[in-house]
Amino acid sequence: MTALISKEIRSFLSSLTGYIVISMFLLLTGLFLWVFPGESNVLTGGYSTIEPLFVIAPWVFTFLIPAITMRSFAEEKRTGTIELLFTRPLTDYQIIWAKYLGAFALVIISLLPTLIYFYTVYQYGNPKGNIDTGATWGSFIGLLFLGSAFTAIGLFASAVTENQIVSFILAAFLCFIVYTGFDSLASLTNWGYAENFIRNLGINEHYISVSRGVVDSRDLVYFLSLDAFFFLLTATRIKSRKW
């Protein structure tokens, strides 16, 4: 299994995909945070915070993570290499795990350099170190959870089709719906008691909660469940070849 994980990571880093994803992510967040004037500019914002990063990053991830995961199953199915993979002494779950960890590793790699943003604001704070450390770490953890959920969604989208483009669009759409769709749905009409329940189905509510700097067991369970849910769907889809 480790061989498969390292193969996945290597395949990202030996092709252009990995580098484009990482540099796109850093370029976009970097430009919005430090160069483009506007609400999300840290330098002109007047507050020592990197909160704008945690507003922009989920949107960037909505497109970049599907781009990472779109080929994992779709490509292998199209070229037929998936049959080779299935003949290996690996369970279906192990294959999904390996694909998942490979893609998630790329998400982590692209997030790591943003720690420099944190360090910069930490140093420039007045007085030095005047940044809401708790909220920042909470937001990083939230972003990791969000990335992991998007990866699971992307893998599922990749498993249902042979076409990478379809997989990408489906994944981006699902990410968007799970991220803010439930929020929008909740504010559509007056749901009464159900409103909060609908809101809690979406990622946004839990992401904001973690961003305050407190890791609540309920949010933790939610994110892990979301991963598990899409894992199950992916696994069922993979297993359905024998049906």
Partner: protein, 402 residues
């Protein structure tokens, strides 16, 4: 053969989904938190825990924030419930219930409940003007037969209800612990505001005296050279036959005097301090006023001549006769242009209103934001008194004393 796989896989899928749903349901019943913030914002503070441990009788908390509410109020309600759960974990005497005051569909009955609540001091806000629904973002705490209302929503002008709810969530612990503290006060300690040297009057100190009034008895004192104005003779706590001199007030406040203190008054203040009193000096050593700048482009600042220099010097502090200019300054409105004969105001930083950032962990300034000062003077610490501590400072780079 094939359908066997299908059946097995689909069963596994549905079983998995059911497990996930159940897990989420169970996790919603209870919760643990890992607080990442440096100052423990989401953990009950030690003073609150001490207060909770002091509660030795049943406390009933009725929270009136329930029912069909807008989303941000639901958040506030949930945060309140979490907070009360957490408090319950420390003291089982705390019992709470959530009551929906708008439950009754009959308007008259509803209004009856509304009036009752308003009489008890629970504040309300309008929810639906057409249907005349009100939200009561408050609670009643009953302890040993006494009802005290708590405001869960902190109303701030110029903020949306959403923002107010968010801010209030961060303040819940304070609101509750503050109320618990009120149950605890038996004899209010006294605080004296000194008058007689041109100190701030009733009007100017009204706000702070009202706030302090919840925990202290606030009086205004004229020293006037009278020896017994700040201290009194009383019996010793241990040896009742001995007569000792005790301070009359837990603390005194000397707020912005503008005329000289006589040697007698200084002696009495010093003796008060020596017998264990505490003094808060709010001294402007240089006279400067925005009023004179309203009409003229310039004003003259001059030293106050308070005759306190020697006294403060002995305590280890010298207030200089200068003014601080700082780039990190509070803005003031300035009329920049006239449109249709109406003045348009814009905010500009006014360098004489520096914003000082607290750097100390001292309780007086801990967790405070920047503090706006108006025409501040620099303060030097003199001598080697280890008790003298500085609480705030301005960044030397940007600061300029004139």
């Amino acid at each position: 053969m094939k359908s066997k796989f299908k059946k097995r896989d689909l069963t596994a899928l549905f079983a998995g989904i059911i497990i996930i749903v159940l897990l989420n349901f169970v996790s919603g019943l209870t919760f643990r938190r890992l607080d990442l913030t440096a100052e423990g914002r989401f953990t009950l503070t030690q003073p609150t825990i001490d207060l909770l441990n002091d509660i030795d009788d049943a406390v009933t908390i009725k929270v009136y924030l329930d029912g069909d509410l807008p989303a941000h109020f639901i958040k506030l309600r949930n945060a309140t419930r979490d907070m009360l759960d957490e408090m319950r974990a420390f003291n089982g005497n705390i019992e709470y219930e959530f009551i929906d005051p708008s439950e009754n569909p009959i308007k008259k009955e509803r209004e009856k409940i509304y009036t009752q609540l308003a009489k008890k001091g629970v504040k309300y806000t309008v929810h639906d003007t057409k249907k005349e629904y009100y939200i009561f973002p408050g609670a009643l705490i009953t302890y040993k037969g006494v009802d005290i209302p708590v405001e869960l929503l902190q109303v701030q002008n110029g903020l949306s209800k959403e923002a107010m709810c968010y801010n209030s969530i961060n303040n819940l612990e304070y609101q509750f612990s503050n109320t618990f503290r009120k149950f605890d006060i038996k004899d209010k300690p006294k605080i004296g505001f000194i008058k007689g040297h041109g100190e701030l009057g009733e009007m100017e100190t009204d706000d702070i005296r009202t706030s302090l009034g919840e925990y202290y008895t606030v009086e205004r004192v004229n020293i006037g050279g009278k020896l017994n104005s700040l201290v009194e003779r009383g019996k010793d706590a241990e040896d009742t036959n001995k007569v000792v001199v005790k301070p009359k007030y837990t603390a005194i406040v000397i707020a912005k005097p503008d005329s000289a203190f006589t040697e007698n008054d200084k002696f009495i203040i010093d003796q008060y301090l020596m017998y264990g009193g505490k003094i808060m000096w709010c001294i402007d050593n240089v006279y400067a006023n925005m009023d004179s700048l309203q009409a003229n482009p310039s004003t003259i600042a001059f030293p106050m001549q308070l005759n306190l220099e020697d006294m403060l010097f002995r305590y280890g502090v010298r207030i200089n006769t200068n003014m601080v200019m700082d780039l990190n300054a509070a803005p003031i409105p300035v009329v920049t242009e006239m449109v249709d004969g109406k003045p348009i105001q814009n905010l500009f930083p006014w360098y004489f209103y520096p914003i000082a950032l607290p750097t100390s962990k001292h309780p007086i300034v801990k967790n405070l934001n920047g503090i706006r000062m108006q025409f501040a003077n620099t303060v030097d610490t003199v001598g080697s008194n280890p008790q003298v501590k500085s609480l705030c400072y301005c960044i030397p780079l940007n600061t300029h004393a004139i």
